[in-house]
């Protein structure tokens, strides 16, 4: 019987909620009252140092490849005179960018696991910027934190569309037909390795964006080197991601402010 009474009360409550919804729907739905969990601001401040801090442990390393690197296709820019004019020789795609001694650039290296799940990191307010120049993306591979502003610039006097292909985040597709355009996108909301960026007007334009909840990521340079710093003590799985050559992982344990090494070697086909 008690249960029945509760169900009556429950139903009444439901009805009340509904009729309220009915009223508010007449007015423009502007007030974000239905988002009580949107801002969990009452969390303790992050225990770990902020991005870029020198405190904590450091992981450095080199990325290499074995075998013969596939040849990057030459880009035919004949449709875009303004872009073509920027290159003395026909440019190539950046599928596999390598340096001396088989070093491999454009590898996204990040802490895949090991950072305590509850630990929150504040995203920098300075935006991460991608620029379109010479009908190519600069940078080609890069990282951004969840919540960090993302800016897209166009330095070319031609139409580019920037299409983000994402699963954990909302994909989007915006156009920039004029030089000088700067678009700031709403920040990414969830970690994702990688979000693919592409231009459908110029089929060769691809960029890859690693979205991380923490600042522990880096992109290998031309000489294959990378540095991830500011890591609190712990055991971490580090993943190295390459757009054509796949992924590699390593396990690194950090105690105190030491510096550890993690090298990665990819097999080129």
């Amino acid at each position: 019987m008690k249960g029945r009474i509760f169900s009556v009360v429950g139903s009444m409550l439901l009805l009340t909620v509904c009729s309220k919804g009915n009223q508010s729907s007449a007015a423009p739905a502007a007030s974000p009252t239905a988002a009580p969990t949107a801002a969990p601001t009452n969390e303790p401040p992050p225990a770990a140092p902020a991005a870029g801090s020198t405190a904590g442990g450091t992981i450095t390393g080199h990325v290499k490849f074995t075998g013969t690197a596939p040849k990057n296709p030459t880009i035919d820019m004949s449709e875009e005179a303004a872009c073509k004019a920027k290159y003395p020789n026909p440019p190539q795609e950046e599928n596999v960018v390598s340096g001396p001694a088989n070093s491999l650039a454009n590898v996204f290296v990040y802490v895949k696991s090991g950072v305590p799940a509850g630990q929150k990191f504040t995203a920098p307010t300075t935006p991460v910027t991608i620029n379109q120049e010479g009908c190519r993306y600069h940078p080609h591979v890069f990282g951004i934190m969840v919540g960090q502003p993302f800016e897209i610039d166009n330095s070319d006097p031609v139409l580019h569309n920037i299409k983000a292909i994402a699963k954990a985040n909302r994909p989007f597709n915006v156009s920039q037909p004029s030089a000088g355009m700067k678009t700031t996108r709403p920040p990414f909301t969830a970690p994702e390795v990688m979000v693919n960026l592409e231009c459908n007007v110029h089929g060769w334009m691809h960029a890859y964006l690693g979205v991380r909840p923490d600042p522990f990521y880096a992109v290998s340079k031309q000489d294959g080197s990378f540095t991830i710093s500011g890591l609190p003590p712990g055991t971490y799985t580090i993943e190295a991601w390459h757009e054509k050559l796949g992924t590699q992982t390593a396990t690194v344990t950090i105690a105190g402010t030491e510096s550890k090494t993690a090298n990665f070697t990819f097999a080129a086909h």
């Binding site: 029945r4 009805l15 919804g21 009915n22 988002a35 949107a38 597709n173 037909p177």
Partner: protein, 527 residues
């Protein structure tokens, strides 16, 4: 009423009554009244065949569709009122359910499902993605401006060029721009830039408002981006974007074409052999829709040619038939090979897997071998071994002459040898449109196999089209059914003279009778 507890009723009954009340009086927001359990039943019956049991766009029918059915798991929707990247509103989703998506296999469900069923299925579709349950992802529709007064297509064209529409949609808007062969969706399926001359096939509707809204929101999941940033950053005014929409609208006919069954070929003095001869200007145009050939293997579910525009004229001894059709590629063209690979991969149906190759564009005009005396005509799909049809087959690799022959079924074509083997043609490919003129003498050198074309008869005619760059050859083609061609007869002078003569004669006779009668009367009076 609900605050007082009536004593005579048990609590259980009250729950029942309240439930009924809740069900009958829906809350203002559709979401509160939606029933995902009922929605699932509707979904599984009507939607899962294409969209898949788990909403991943992988149902049985998906293998035959370009564009493929929506994958609901990503919550990426083309037709929205929200900025690019945002979820659609319920009203946006309901619009697509109600009206369907033009130019795709998605029909409108407004008249097939009840309001309740459509609301429920909408709610169920949203459960395939976690984004809809995420309160931080609430869609915020754009407040669209209303259209500016007047129309300025010239300004629209100027900005169509400057903001790069032609890159994909082409200089004349037929979806043949330089980037068109490279377009694909997130899953790698081939995508086509819309042919802007066919607004009745636009995914989100063909009005100026629809076009403006798509320019603002983009079509998420496709290569079509949002142009809203241009307005926000003042690179373009809102009015200029409206002019672009007006220009795009102006490329399509005022009304969607309507099929008229009989092509009237008027009599002219000189035959226009060239497709762009000014003599064609005043001649009536007839539109015939084409559909994929899905009767005989290999079936073809993704025809590129959606219809033909036909004009015909004749002189005392010859006929010219002008067939124009939109084709985004001038085949064979290596630029479309990779695209064709994507088409074949997407349409992984029961047909044998084929390697992309360089096929030409083709068009066939079909007649019976003789005018049928009764209602029976040869089988429209290229006749049969016992009842062949007479065809003119034109190919983009031999533009100046079509091959005449007899088709004895879809896979057998016997070219005519000797007299009447070649049908002279003149062809123009112009920014995504083929225009081909076929000419022939009305009389036939072989009346048994090559139909003599006579005035005053309804001559059955049908059309077939192949877009080589879309993988079309052999039985993979677009087909029409039988229509008619009528060679209008010159109206003989007696048609105009006879009625006048008859009237004069009748009047004369009448007057004679009256005169005679009066004569008699006056004679009697005199007596």
């Amino acid at each position: 009423m609900t605050a007082r507890r009536p004593d005579g009723l048990t609590a259980g009954r009250i729950v029942l009554v309240l439930s009924v009340l809740l069900a009958v009086r829906p809350c203002g927001r559709p979401a509160a009244a939606q029933d995902t359990t009922a929605g699932k039943v509707v979904y599984q019956k009507w939607c899962a065949g294409c969209h898949g049991d788990n909403g991943a766009g992988d149902g049985q029918g998906a293998r035959h569709m370009i564009p493929p059915p929506r994958d609901f798991t990503g919550a990426i929707y083309q037709i929205r009122s929200t900025p690019s990247g945002q979820l659609p509103t319920d009203a946006d989703l309901m619009r697509s359910i109600d009206e369907g998506l033009g130019g795709t296999a998605m029909p409108g469900w407004k008249n097939r499902l009840s309001d309740r069923q459509r609301r429920d299925v909408l709610a169920y579709i949203k459960t395939f993605s976690t984004f809809f349950a995420d309160t931080t992802q609430r869609p915020q529709p754009i407040t669209f401006s209303s259209a500016p007064s007047g129309t300025d297509v010239k300004v629209g064209r100027q900005f169509y060029d400057s903001i790069g529409c032609r890159k994909c949609h082409g200089d004349q808007g037929r979806g043949d721009g330089p980037s068109a062969p490279t377009l694909k969706d997130d899953a790698g399926h081939p995508m086509f830039a819309a042919n802007l001359h066919e607004n009745w096939r636009f995914n989100g509707g063909g009005t100026v408002e629809d076009i403006y809204h798509r320019l603002r929101t983009g079509l998420d999941g496709t290569p079509m981006p949002s142009f809203s940033d241009l307005l926000e950053q003042k690179f373009l005014t809102d009015e200029q974007l409206w002019r672009v929409a007006q220009y795009v609208r102006s490329l399509s006919p005022k009304d969607a074409p309507v099929v008229r069954d009989v092509i009237h070929a008027p009599l002219t003095k000189a035959l226009p052999h060239a497709p762009d001869d000014s003599a064609w200007t005043g001649v009536d145009t007839y539109w015939f829709p084409l559909v994929g050939q899905i009767i005989r293997k290999e079936r073809w579910f993704a025809p590129a040619v959606s219809g033909v525009w036909v004009k015909a004229v004749h002189t005392a001894d010859s006929i010219a038939i002008r067939v124009a059709w939109d084709d985004r590629s001038q085949s064979p063209d290596t630029a479309w090979l990779a695209h064709l690979g994507r088409v074949f991969n997407t349409l992984s149906d029961d047909s044998t897997r084929e390697q992309p190759a360089l096929w030409p564009d083709q068009l066939a005009v079909q007649f019976p071998v003789s005018i049928p005396t009764g209602m029976e005509r040869p089988y429209f799909l290229m006749g049969s071994p016992s009842a062949p049809v007479y065809q003119w087959r034109w190919s983009s690799t031999a533009r100046t002459s079509a091959t005449a022959g007899l088709a004895r079924g879809i896979d057998r074509f016997d070219p005519i040898t000797g007299s009447g083997a070649g049908i002279p043609t003149q062809a123009v490919y112009d920014h995504g449109e083929w225009r081909v003129v076929f000419t022939r003498a009305l009389a036939s050198p072989d009346t048994a196999n090559q139909l003599p074309l006579r005035t005053g008869r309804a001559i059955p005619v049908a059309f077939f089209a192949w877009d080589g760059s879309n993988g079309e050859h052999g039985t993979r083609m677009a087909v029409s059914t039988w229509y008619f061609l009528a060679l209008d007869e010159p109206v003989p002078a007696r048609v105009f003279i006879s009625p006048v003569l008859a009237m004069v004669l009748t009047l004369g006779l009448g007057m004679l009778v009256v005169w005679r009668a009066q004569q008699k009367t006056s004679y009697r009076r005199q007596q």
